[in-house]
């Protein structure tokens, strides 16, 4: 209790406070959805503006989108392999864009200026629900990728070099989503907290380098998340000989 009150009083940071929405029996973290809708709306507007008038000689936004597309394709192709990367590219790309937009949106937009009755707006990826949702989607997709590509032979992967690996490989299926979700959640939350505390203590200049560091981490985390997701899918569809 002491720790709790200390944090809320000392830093004026509302850690672990949420804006609850009650729909029937279920409760939602409203602030997560609010920010994600704003950010994804901006992303979709940006993308529809860029793809509105596509030409063979790209101009302006189309250039940027093509660069992005190429970047995601390279990522998916190197991790998943030439054969099936096409099927998974939209998923990997969506993960990358969602995490990137959420992280950067959380770091760049001064959400704190908007007062909520409870909790505060911030990066959607700083909420454990979001990151677990993403990580579970990754788990489902690598299972689906393995099973749809190799059928029951997918489970050969569990005993691949030797059957001794079986318990470790089973354990991996649990540690993969756990590490994915907690890495993203921890990094983004920690960044928000550090910036928040610094802004509270020294409102001028000092937080700026930390904010830049936060932007850097945010981008890296998006890349790591997408790369690992692609790597897991690639591992599942890889043919053992």
């Amino acid at each position: 209790m002491f720790f709790n009150s200390l944090l809320t009083n000392f830093a004026a940071l509302e850690v672990g406070q949420h804006l609850y929405w009650q729909i029937g029996n279920i409760r939602l973290h409203g602030q997560v959805f609010l920010t994600s809708w704003i950010l994804l709306g901006a992303l979709l507007v940006f993308i529809s503006l860029g793809t509105k008038k596509m030409e063979n000689d790209p101009k302006g936004l189309q250039n940027l989108l093509e660069f992005l597309w190429d970047y995601i394709r390279d990522l998916a192709r190197t991790q998943i392999g030439e054969k099936v990367y096409r099927d998974w590219m939209p998923f990997i790309g969506t993960l990358f864009l969602f995490v990137f937009v959420s992280n950067w949106g959380g770091a760049l937009i001064p959400w704190r200026l908007i007062k909520l009755p409870s909790g505060e707006l911030g990066a959607p990826t700083a909420d454990i629900n979001t990151t677990i949702a993403l990580a579970l989607l990754v788990s489902l997709s690598y299972f689906y990728a393995g099973l749809s590509n190799k059928g029951w032979r997918y489970f050969e992967y569990y005993v691949h070099p030797t059957p001794i690996m079986l318990p470790f490989k089973i354990l991996e299926d649990f540690t993969k989503p756990l590490s994915l979700s907690f890495r993203l959640f921890g990094n983004i939350l920690a960044d928000e907290l550090v910036v928040g505390v610094l802004v509270f203590l020294v409102p001028l200049i000092l937080p700026i380098p930390v904010m830049f560091l936060g932007l850097f981490t945010s981008a890296i985390q998006a890349l790591i998340f997408a790369t690992l997701a692609a790597y897991y899918i690639g591992e599942a569809v890889e043919e053992h000989h």
Binding site: G16, S48, M54, W69, D127
Partner: protein, 153 residues
């Protein structure tokens, strides 16, 4: 207990997992489909179309280049054969003219020899005729001298 309250409180807390999770998952899946039809497919189409266009152009250019090289080689061989042909014609003409020259020379030589021979024969016959006449005259003269000598005695 403190930690439990801080992190795992039933109301609020950092690790408060609720219906936000499945709804966020559904939202991300929906976003995947939206981005696929709005971004990945159209941009992919245009980029791959362009890549195909570029690679086709490269292949075409390579084909054309090889064709040009083939034509060049062809031309070179044609040039070579034309050159040898020309050389052959020139040498043939030279030979022919040589032959003609030799023939003409031989003809002229023969003619000259024949006329020389004829002249020689004529000279010879004239010489022998003159010699006959001379010897006849010598005979006549000697007979005259002999007659005269005999008469004087």
């Amino acid at each position: 207990m403190l930690a439990f309250n801080f992190f795992g409180a039933t109301e609020g807390g950092l690790f408060d997992i609720n219906a936000t999770l499945p709804l966020m998952a559904i939202q991300v899946v929906a976003l995947t489909y939206i981005l696929n039809s709005l971004f990945f497919k159209p941009v992919g189409n245009i980029v791959e179309k362009r890549e195909k266009f570029v690679s086709n152009n490269i292949i075409e250019a390579k084909n054309k280049l090889s064709e040009v090289k083939k034509l060049e080689a062809d031309l070179l061989t044609q040039l070579q054969s034309a050159r040898t042909e020309a050389q052959r014609i020139v040498s043939e003409a030279e030979n022919e003219s040589d032959k003609l020259y030799k023939e003409a020379l031989e003809l002229a030589n023969n003619e000259a020899n024949a006329s020389k021979e004829k002249a020689r024969l004529e000279i010879e016959s004239q010489t022998s005729a003159a010699r006959d006449q001379l010897s006849k005259q010598v005979d006549d003269l000697s007979e005259l001298i002999v007659n005269r000598l005999i008469l004087e005695k």
